[in-house]
Amino acid sequence: MAITIKFFASLREQVGKSEVQIELSDSLTVGEVWAQVCDNSPLPIHILMAVNKEYSKQDTRVQDGDEVAFFPPVTGG
């Protein structure tokens, strides 16, 4: 199955890419997708995750054709 992964805002520079497509043989969670694409680096604290533009947690399962997106946390004001 194929999924698209997107990194938004400052995460693009941090991760060094803005969009990746990967082929998976079995279903992964959002957290596992991060590990696979980001060389097993730990999931950053307070990072926001979405599957098909719906807020999700790291244990959400990803399906074929899904778009997984990661966003940096923002608290300044």
Binding site: S10, V74, T75, G76, G77
Partner: protein, 248 residues
């Protein structure tokens, strides 16, 4: 409304979704704005100009030279002044009809509960998780709508929460309260007009919530990245394990 007020608000009254009825509703509304910095500046100035009748302004900080690049409610003449006093001066000059109440100390939980009792909307313009979680919990307990905004670097976020609705998510559903701090504007930097964009969206959400019109960002998170000019809206869900929502 007298003739001067009718003229002052005429361009807004012209909007069929607002009309005279809506303007009168705004004049009778009370909004709490927490944080009078980058976001609080456009929020307070637009809500005062638009004729929100009573603004409660909370901040404990003083105007610093490094604030003036983006906190447009304060000016060079107010350096060293308490932000709430500087804000009051600016807003009263802008619209003397608006009633202003100042909260100059850090928001304590007990105090928050009192304030919440007759506030229509809370606008979170603060700059740290601790305040954001405390405000959210107080809003959920009192069933008061929360318009939350945040900005850093080139990145902004806005979300609206209606805790009075049964399955609505809250700010704590979005972020975990694990004592970790994220970066601040003094560490990571911030683009001046970004707070204008985010704060102005917050102010328009407040007006929609007060008048109960339009499609609000309720239950949604808007993300804006000024560097590429891109927006995204995510749908939020109540977290079944959220410790704040489960107390509802």
């Amino acid at each position: 409304m007298d003739d001067a007020q009718l003229l002052r608000y005429s361009r807004q009254i012209l909007l069929p979704q607002v009309s005279l009825t809506g303007q009168e509703k705004l004049l009778q509304s009370k909004v709490l704005i927490v944080g009078l910095g980058g976001l609080g500046s456009p929020v307070a100035m637009y809500l005062a100009a638009a004729g929100v009748g009573h603004l409660v302004l909370a901040d404990f900080d003083y105007v610093d030279l490094s604030n003036l690049q983006r906190q447009i409610m304060h000016s060079s003449a107010e350096l060293g002044q308490h932000k709430s006093v500087s804000a009051q001066k600016k807003l009263q000059a802008l619209n003397p009809n608006v009633q202003i109440t100042l909260i100059k100390q850090r928001l304590k939980e007990k105090y928050l509960k009192n304030i919440m009792s007759d506030v229509d909307v809370v606008v979170d313009c603060s700059d740290n998780f601790a305040t954001r979680f405390a405000l959210n919990a107080a809003c959920v307990r009192s069933g008061v709508a929360l318009v939350s905004g945040a900005a850093l670097r080139w990145e902004g976020q806005v979300a609206v929460f209606f805790p009075a609705e049964k399955n609505s998510p809250c700010y704590r559903c979005l972020y975990d309260d694990n004592d970790e701090q994220t970066e601040t504007c003094s560490e990571a930097g911030i683009l001046a007009p970004l707070v204008g964009v985010v704060g102005s969206i917050q102010a328009s959400e407040v007006i929609k919530v007060l008048l109960n019109i339009g499609d609000s960002l309720c239950g949604k998170l808007l993300l804006f990245y000024a560097y590429t000019g891109k927006w995204r809206i995510l749908k939020l869900h109540q977290d079944p394990t959220c410790p704040v929502c489960t107390l509802k």
